[in-house]
Symmetry: C2
Subunit: 177 residues, 2 copies
């Protein structure tokens, strides 16, 4: 499978090639650097792949990436936080938090409690069941995280973190204007 025309870089799955970038640019007579375009495209593809792999990973514990992140953030904050704070630290909208908390509450991993300080506010609390779930998955989870990065040396990891941070800064170019 995956052998359409031999000559040209047919991706075969989600990973773009330098040839593709070159073809696209030449088609419109643009002078952008194909390597730069490739970096951007590969990062997008890798992000999407990792997203899917993450979902598959967390589903083993009956969680999704979003639900896991919410639980972990809650635990990291003493097991109690308002939906707005959760939205801010997870980097998602409040509406998304409502949905995540709905699902987690249905499974008894978190609970909602009215805020004592603000009459319109809630507090989301991590239940014993929720904390237990985190304890269960931690060994496997962190082992896999480490294994994923295991192909890089300490120096390479540091280098990667630096380069990635600079690319994340550059992402504003996509939304600017």
């Amino acid at each position: 499978m995956t052998q359409h025309h031999p000559p040209h870089g047919d991706t075969g799955h989600g990973a773009p090639t330098l040839d593709q970038a070159r073809r696209q640019l030449s088609r419109y007579g643009l002078s952008a650097d194909p390597q730069a375009v490739l970096v951007a495209a590969r990062l997008m593809a890798a992000g999407a792949r990792l997203g899917q792999a993450g979902e598959a990973h967390f589903s083993r514990f009956g969680l999704s990436t979003g639900r896991y992140r919410l639980l972990a953030d809650l635990e990291d904050h003493g097991g109690e936080k308002s939906p707005s704070q959760l939205a801010a630290s997870l980097g998602v909208s409040r509406a998304t938090v409502t949905g995540l908390v709905d699902g987690l509450e249905r499974e008894g991993l978190v609970a909602r409690r009215p805020s004592t300080e603000d009459g319109r506010g809630n507090v989301v609390i991590l239940t014993e069941t929720g904390a237990g779930r985190l304890r269960e998955l931690a060994p496997d989870h962190f082992a896999r995280m480490e294994a994923m990065v295991g192909g890089l040396s300490t120096e390479e990891r540091a280098m990667f973190l630096d380069l990635l941070a600079r690319l994340v800064e550059g992402m504003s170019a996509l939304t600017a204007d």
Copy 2:
């Protein structure tokens, strides 16, 4: 920027910190390397951020990331391809392609035509309107892609591509079993 309260590594948005990784590991007495965990977490966060930035970017042209990728892949393949081939080269399920093509067809950017070779197959073709849309957005799109990566030198980009490819390989550790 990115330093809110000095005491605790409060993320402030989606970017995890080394302190968080350390706290999580120590909470369960795990010996995984915090730096490795940080790399994995940052890559996930960056992927999610880039995904959102990409959606915002493409929405300027009335497209989503998925729809753009489908159009671009179609053009790169002579403007004609079956849904199954599209699913394979985009790295998504056939059902997703059905949805994307539905949307693109509604806007006249692609059309479906029965396959001449296989009685149950379709061929998705890029319409003139669809090709025109790609032409319109190309200059802005590639300029932004290049700008996003502009903070890295050629050598750094090559390094990043290498490191990223090795991390993508490592992603199988998440789904392996």
